[in-house]
Subunit: 231 residues, 2 copies
């Protein structure tokens, strides 16, 4: 299970702790220190889950929560809040504001990982679903097979990961640099044009002949899986 997680936390040691453990678990982590950048980071790339420290120096946790919940595109991102023991009362308010779960500091890391797993499973089934479907396209993670209209589609590893990522986030547009981050890996030093080539190869394999193209090019924007594909 691999997810994109946004950590909003101003204490650096805890930032490190979280980043280290979440990355070890295979998640992708971005950290925002003061809640100010938060909305920008979210707009930049929609995270699958937000870990939110309740006591921030600048903007308050409750405020972040409200902002996230206010926008339609981010409304259903699950939020786990981290609170100090003394903030018991706050916690209740937090849940009322829309957090999905909470942990009391100091928290146990395995406990945190378990909660994350559970929440992702519950709210973001695509993240763990064995099969991703769209129209006549079917991607199976367990067998690593892709079929289009009951015909086998043989993809290379990179093409498979690329398609998986796009199908998991249907409709969302990803810039070339975002795709390099998620599909190739944070430290990939690869030219952005390479993404074009792989999208091209993926398309060729997917659309043998005259089928409708499920991948949408957004000029200057990037690529997306066409959410209207198959309807």
């Amino acid at each position: 299970m691999t997810a994109s997680i946004l950590v909003i936390e101003d204490e650096e040691p805890i930032q490190m702790l979280l980043r280290y453990n979440l990355e070890a678990e295979g998640h992708r982590v971005r950290v925002s220190a003061d809640g100010e950048d938060t909305m920008m980071l979210i707009g930049d790339e929609r995270p699958d889950l937000i870990l939110l420290d309740w006591m921030l120096s600048g903007i308050s946790g409750i405020e972040v929560c409200r902002l996230v919940r206010a926008r339609a595109e981010t409304r259903d991102i699950p939020i786990i809040m981290l609170t100090a023991r003394s903030e018991e009362a706050e916690r209740v308010r937090g849940l009322a504001t829309g957090a999905d779960d909470y942990l009391i500091k100091p928290f146990s890391v395995p406990e945190l990982l378990a909660r994350i797993k559970s929440i992702l499973r519950r709210l973001n089934p695509d993240a763990v679903a064995e099969e991703l479907k769209a129209g006549d396209l079917l991607l199976n993670r367990a067998t690593k097979r892709v079929m289009r209209a009951n015909r086998d589609v043989n993809l290379s590893p990179t093409e498979f990961r690329l398609l998986e990522h796009l199908m998991r986030n249907q409709g969302r547009v990803y810039s070339r640099s975002q795709l390099l981050d998620t599909v190739w890996g944070r430290d990939a030093e690869v030219d952005e044009r390479t993404v074009d080539v792989h999208v091209g190869r993926l398309r060729k394999m997917l659309n043998r002949g005259k089928d409708i193209d499920p991948i949408r090019t957004v000029r200057t924007g990037g690529y997306a899986f066409n959410e209207r594909f198959g309807s």
Copy 2:
């Protein structure tokens, strides 16, 4: 009789008790502590039977039961629930939700083993079947023999276990490290490349000459038994 059994139980002493006795009986045991990992473990390798403690800390037993019954691939895995004497009412609900049998804690181990045997025989004859079949391939667990198109195939112990594991989970792709875990054992300190060599040997024995290869290589992914083999 050898089956893959998933134990969902949060009390460690009972975990140990179950693991020890079931493994002594020849079964392969995996333990999930809190019910959270359960669905993932099931996806990882379909168990032949689930032993489910009714009182779990996180997700409730009834919930696990429902989840298992909700998915088509897992719907017919038999479930035995473990309840405390006082949970009479729960028991009824459990059976209503789809458990196949129950035991009251504290239970006698021979009794448990007997129930397991009986249930597996009754509900899942395939799981304990002496034979695994696919196309012209036939693997007999009792005699440890493998035949291909009525021809004897002489496999080494490791090759046999490898083939058994892959055939039991047809279609699913296993990474080299997963295969080392399940086929070689959790603590095997063996190079991942060794898996290649054994797959190669297995293939050579299986495909004498020009037969179709039942094992599928998935680049960067691992190996799988080709679920289309024989059709």
